[in-house]
């Protein structure tokens, strides 16, 4: 196999991996605040694309407006979801809350089907034009956007966690919610904002991918599995680990393709299982003592 082909596969892996990374970040943020895996995360991805297409085609808003608008609307939906569905049961077992998120995912997909129909809906690329050529491999313009978005997101989250009051409150909740509450942190607000942030990240991923794939009411569950796998690989810890988990998953998938594209998902999820057996804390996280 030629170098340019290997490079092309690596580019595809990093592109898909970046999307998985954005979803993994959403899983990680909600998990940090609540110890809950939010299975509605994939629906935020779907809704991001849907609202962007809707604003762009129905209201004929420019992309520059429809895209941020869609992300904001979905962030609002994420906070609303937390307020209406999670908060009333906030003291329940994590398992009960996880089931609520599964229900939420079905509700979102069904509502989207009624609101937007069952056809795939396209969105133009952010900046149209031919791909960039790099050592015989092609990089689409939209991929450059996706990479840029991931970089900005990671930088933003790192800043949020280390430099802001809210970020410190979120980290305190991550370590011990009860203690954080006793220290005067408004934990309910932190949880709500975490959901909003996770929804926004899901929406950003969905909006960035829609020009490449079109969007449809039922795409949420499939992508959520990938994002969840990436989050587990990363260990549900720091934003950087989530991104590393996503990129790694994307690269593994592409590495399998030259041998058998039919086995792509099997091998990728096999690696995930192996990680769960050998390093349950994830690849990029030191083993922690069991929480009391």
């Amino acid at each position: 196999m030629e170098t340019s082909e290997l490079l092309q596969l690596a580019i595809a892996g990093l592109k898909n991996g970046s999307i998985y990374a954005l979803l993994a970040l959403g899983f990680t943020i909600v998990y940090a605040a609540t110890n809950v895996i939010n299975f509605a995360q994939g629906e935020f991805y779907m809704l991001g694309g849907m609202f962007a297409v809707y604003a762009f085609t129905q209201f004929e808003l420019p992309l520059l407006v429809s895209v941020p608008l869609a992300v904001l609307v979905v962030a609002g939906i994420g906070m609303l979801f937390e307020t209406l569905a999670i908060r009333p049961r906030k003291d329940a077992e994590p398992m009960a809350l996880i089931i609520i998120t599964v229900g939420g995912s079905l509700v979102f997909a069904s509502l989207a089907r009624h609101a937007f129909g069952s056809d795939a809906l396209p969105l133009p690329e952010f900046t149209a034009g031919p791909s960039f050529l790099f050592a015989g491999a092609a990089i689409e313009r939209q991929t450059v956007w996706i990479w840029g978005i991931v970089l900005v997101t990671v930088a933003g989250l790192t800043f949020l966690y280390s430099k802001t009051r809210l970020g410190r409150a979120m980290r305190a909740c991550m370590q011990n919610r009860e203690a954080a509450r006793l220290m005067g942190i408004d934990t309910a607000r932190v949880v709500m904002i975490s959901f909003g942030l996770a929804a926004a990240l899901g929406a950003v991923a969905g909006v960035a991918v829609t020009p490449l794939t079109s969007t449809r009411f039922d795409i949420g569950a499939g992508i959520a599995v990938k994002g969840f796998a990436a989050a587990i690989l990363g260990g549900l810890g720091s934003p950087l680990a989530a991104v590393a988990g996503g990129l790694l998953l994307g690269l593994i998938e592409q590495a399998v393709i030259p041998f058998s594209s039919a086995l792509k998902d099997v091998v990728a999820l096999g690696v995930l299982l192996a990680v769960l057996f050998l390093r349950p804390q994830g690849l990029f996280r030191r083993a922690r003592r069991e929480k009391m």
Partner: protein, 410 residues
């Protein structure tokens, strides 16, 4: 009201809202539990006599899930035609009732829905399912009950893995693969980069192309697969490009198919893309946008009715159907699936018309098999004891995506 009471009251209201939302979700779809009855508003014309028992036919369609883009138009066609049949007096004075069940594009649901139709509703025949996997899975239930099934799915396996009870309305993959490979040969291609979807339909096409390519002087230089949920096929296409293919052949039907031409454009691949009849719908051209230009596929003639031959029986049936569909739903059918459902329904209805009162399901099966020269929308159907697909290569025509729509090739 005390603080605790207020909080409790608020929680109660939230619960009510949550429960309402969940109920909405259950009613509206993915669990595949919904039933719709299609008996139209019409009453039999000879209502003077005492009304006769309705003929009850079941339909298992994929109204939700991955194949909802196919199942939706199929349901539209059946709803509309059943209403018309009843307005015109039903079948020999019997009103027609078609009970439509949603299998959610899921094999297990298809089995459950079929069982329900047979055991609870006592249907005389089953139309469906939309997908190959579901159609095959339903077979055990069909065989046990001994009632005829008219599948709307396009894989060869449905009629090749022969079951005397099972008929099929779309052109089988074998027919379309032959026509398509013939075209590739005529265009002077020799090296095929094959990409197929990981579904029953895709696997059927993949196996057929690999078996028969050599007969047309073609070599499959790369054999790639994608999942319906995939968002990027540049990896597979890179391998195809590296293998030196001079044409990409894509056998798929899911929405993700439209990503393939886009990825090819992004990779700067300038070899042609030829697809299957699974992409014979406007959704594919719309989603792939500019990248769809020049994509070729072979399918039935409904997308360009003049191909039937103006004035022919199929031309009249198809244009009348398109007119009614446009009037009822506000837009013409933009794919071939509504036509497959029309054919499936009328194959059963025409057979029922020819039968006397008190027929058995075995009689109905025999009568469907006797169908000869039925001018449907997919083509002209002539079944025999060994051919339950009943169409020929003459019923197919080539299309090329041009100017944002499927247009006749050449």
């Amino acid at each position: 009201m005390t603080e605790t009471e207020r909080v409790r009251d608020m929680h109660k209201r939230m619960w009510v809202m949550l429960v309402l939302a969940l109920v909405l979700a259950l009613v509206s779809a993915p669990l595949g539990g919904c039933t719709a009855t299609s008996d139209g508003d019409g009453t039999p014309a000879d209502a003077g006599d005492e009304p006769k028992e309705p003929y009850v036919v079941g339909a298992v369609l994929s109204l939700t899930g991955a194949q909802s883009g196919l199942g939706g138009p199929e349901k539209n066609a059946i709803d509309m035609e059943v209403a018309r049949i009843n307005e015109e007096g039903g079948i020999n004075g019997h009103p027609l009732e078609v009970i439509i069940e949603d299998d959610a594009s899921d094999v297990d649901q298809a089995i459950a829905r079929t069982t329900k139709l047979i055991e609870q509703d006592g249907v005389v025949a089953i139309i469906g399912s939309t997908g190959t996997g579901q159609s095959m899975a339903m077979r055990d239930v069909i065989d046990a009950a001994g009632i005829p099934q008219v599948s709307l799915a396009g894989s060869l396996v449905i009629t090749k893995d022969f079951d005397p009870l099972v008929f099929q309305t779309p052109w089988s993959n074998a027919l379309v693969v032959d026509t398509t490979l013939e075209y590739l040969k005529a265009e002077g291609h020799t090296k095929v980069g094959l990409i197929t979807e990981d579904t029953g339909f895709g696997k059927d096409g993949q196996a057929l192309v690999n078996e028969t390519a050599a007969d047309y002087g073609l070599e499959v230089v790369s054999d790639q697969v994608f999942k319906p949920a995939d968002t990027d096929m540049t990896g597979q296409l890179t391998v195809i490009k590296g293998a030196g293919a001079d044409v990409v052949l894509m056998w798929s039907s899911v929405a993700a198919s439209s990503i393939v031409p886009k990825n090819m454009a992004q990779l700067g691949m300038d070899i042609p893309l030829v697809g299957s009849h699974g992409i014979a719908r406007q959704e594919f051209v719309d989603s792939a946008a500019d990248a769809a230009e020049g994509v070729v596929m072979f399918a039935g003639k409904i997308l360009a009715p003049e191909a039937y031959g103006v004035g022919s029986e199929s031309y009249e049936a198809a244009t009348a159907f398109i007119d009614r569909y446009t009037e009822t739903y506000g837009e013409a059918p933009t794919n071939t699936f509504a036509g497959h459902a029309y054919d499936g329904l009328y194959l059963v209805v025409e057979a029922l018309k020819r039968l006397d009162e008190g027929f058995t399901s075995a009689d109905l099966r025999d009568e469907i098999e006797k169908t000869s020269g039925f001018a449907g929308i997919g083509g002209v159907f002539t079944f025999s004891a060994t051919d339950h697909n009943g169409m020929t290569a003459d019923d197919l025509v080539g299309y090329v995506a041009s100017g944002g729509a499927w247009t006749l090739l050449e």
